[in-house]
């Protein structure tokens, strides 16, 4: 029975909706509005400037740099994390020994705070005494300055990100693998299919819904997870490893320009909207396997 106005339902929804609107929808709208205004300081009244902030944005080389970095960062971390997560899940789900320990080892980075483990990675990456360069020295290679070299800083961040999130995504694959029927694989083995062929023709296609889910989450992380930048590079050297959300933070809280920060946030919201559209497009079409 469809009631025209269900007071009880709206009352139950009231706390959730008012909190969500106050801290998600309303600030989103205000961000758009603020990106079209400007004031000399936070105390001065803001005046409407139309698209002027966006003109500044288009001329801002740092903006283009962080967008480029963020795209490379997504391209570098998302496929690698997914591939590793699948491999990890297959190993943990296989019949080799110590799968319990493997699962524990892979999953541990997930529950550790990014900010505290970044302190340890900072040591791994240090130029002379760092673990990586000490290991490289053992085989006679003079290790690079991982975080100080503009060509390497972003890649160094990516390595840590993959380490942090691959085990988290493994969990979703593990859950999916356990729902697949063992008969399917036995049948394939009877047919004489090789391990790689079984993976390519059966396992991977059946894991497609999980891969899409993980893909969306990995993409979101590539844009919203910048904690390690605060410890490892602070976006440097010379913005070589700066990412959009970190730049928004710098603009708002170091350069104290909340109007330009709002303009940058609009770009971020557009990015998230694109990811949402990808999700709706794929999930509504329900591409499973064929």
């Amino acid at each position: 029975m469809l009631k025209r106005f269900n007071l009880k339902a709206w009352l139950l929804l009231l706390p959730a909706l008012s909190l969500l609107i106050a801290f998600t929808h309303w600030p989103t709208l205000k961000t758009f509005w603020r990106s079209a205004t400007w004031a000399r300081s936070d105390a001065a009244p803001a005046k409407f400037v139309g698209l002027e902030n966006y003109e500044i944005l288009l001329d801002d080389p740092i903006f283009w740099k962080v967008i480029e970095n963020n795209l490379w960062y997504a391209l570098g971390t998302v496929p690698t994390s997914i591939a590793l997560a699948i491999a990890m899940a297959l190993w943990v789900n296989s019949k080799i020994r110590f799968t319990g320990l493997l699962r524990l080892a892979f999953f541990t980075p997930t529950i550790l705070p990014m900010i505290t483990v970044a302190n340890i990675w900072l040591f791994f990456y240090s130029p002379n005494i760092g673990l990586f360069n000490q290991l490289l020295a053992l085989i006679g290679i003079n290790g690079p300055n991982w975080l100080g070299d503009p060509d390497l800083a972003l890649s160094s961040l990516m390595i840590m990100t993959v380490w942090k999130e691959a085990g988290f995504f493994m969990i979703f694959y593990l859950a999916a693998l356990q729902t697949l029927s063992p008969e399917l694989f036995e049948a394939a083995k009877v047919e004489g299919a090789s391990g790689w062929r079984i993976f390519r023709k059966i396992t991977f296609p059946l894991l497609m819904p999980t891969t899409l889910f993980v893909l969306i989450n990995a993409l979101l992380n590539a844009f919203k997870l910048v904690d390690h930048l605060f410890i490892l590079t602070k976006g440097g050297p010379n913005n070589a490893s700066n990412l959009l959300l970190y730049y928004i933070y710098e603009t708002a809280f170091s350069f104290l320009d909340s109007y330009y920060a709002a303009t940058l946030t609009v770009v971020m919201l557009v990015m998230l909207a694109i990811i949402a559209l990808v999700q709706i497009f794929f999930f509504d079409r329900r591409i499973h396997y064929r």
Binding site: K3, L12, I115, A262, T265, A276
Partner: protein, 270 residues
């Protein structure tokens, strides 16, 4: 193709990767329990010490930070459980005009997380005079779209007969939720709670923005200041501090490992 060599290489890679994955943690233990001169030198019989923990503990108010983290995480979790239960029930069991719209409003937060809106949310907090308070750190997270979604999915599977029977017994609206739906959704509550606690225990950007003093600063923000090169702490002490900071959650995780991983799986399949 499926040769014995392929299997050996695969097995070897699995163990190698696992070792690489725990390396940061192993290193932290090594550096924390050895004198500073061994922080970058690896010798089998290096002397053990707990000195680093003492100096770390003296150099930062870890107890205060941890207390703040516990308070903030508790406020958030408690509010989320209540708010999400009510909303989840309405979206799962009530039929009304605008339900799809309300659900769409909720789902927006899955994409536009509060940390993306730090600029405006900080202004809101300033307006409410809640900067540098525990409640301020928690406020944008008191309702969770993820929690509402999970509970809605779970409540949908409860048979209608059960709800009808409870109504015949004379239970009212909130009574039905509390006595019938909440107990039945226990695994979902547990899964959501573990995911939420580990998320907020580790959250950094928003707490960094809204806290200014020791009075409200959580562990993550405290650790960022503690580990900053300007503060001139050495690796051994940083490692000891790191272990202090992650200790409670790590122990909790190791003890309830199976439950933790199952919960994350449970939350993931929905």
């Amino acid at each position: 193709m499926d040769s014995i060599w392929f299997q050996r290489i695969s097995k070897f890679s699995a163990y190698l990767l696992a070792i690489v994955w725990v390396l940061p943690l192993l290193y932290a233990f090594w550096a924390a329990f050895h004198p500073p001169e061994y922080a970058t030198k690896f010798a089998l019989f290096a002397p053990l010490t707990t000195e680093n923990f003492v100096s770390a503990w003296d150099q930062a108010p870890f107890f205060r930070y941890m207390l703040n983290t516990v308070i903030i995480t508790t406020i958030i979790l408690f509010s989320q459980l209540v708010v999400c239960t009510l909303a989840g029930y309405a979206l799962a069991r009530e039929k009304f005009v605008g339900r799809g719209f309300a659900f769409a409003l909720v789902l927006t937060q899955l994409m536009v997380m509060p940390e993306v809106l730090i600029v405006e949310n900080y202004r809101t907090l300033t307006g409410l005079d809640l900067v540098d308070t525990h409640l301020g750190v928690g406020l944008p997270y008191l309702a969770s779209a993820f929690g509402i979604f999970l509970l809605r999915q779970t409540f949908k599977t409860v048979p209608q007969e059960l709800e009808d029977a409870a109504r015949v017994e004379g239970l009212s609206g909130l009574g039905i939720i509390w006595k019938v739906f909440v107990p039945l959704a226990f695994p979902t509550y547990l899964a959501f709670s573990l995911v939420s606690v580990s998320y907020h225990w580790n959250n950094f950007l928003w707490p960094l923005v809204v806290t200014n003093t020791e009075a409200s600063r959580p562990l993550t923000v405290g650790m960022a200041i503690f580990g900053a090169p300007e503060s001139g702490v050495d690796w051994s002490v940083i490692s000891a501090g790191t272990l202090i900071a992650i200790g409670p959650l790590l122990i909790l995780f190791l003890v309830f490992q199976r439950k933790f991983i199952q919960s994350f799986m449970h939350a993931g399949i929905k």
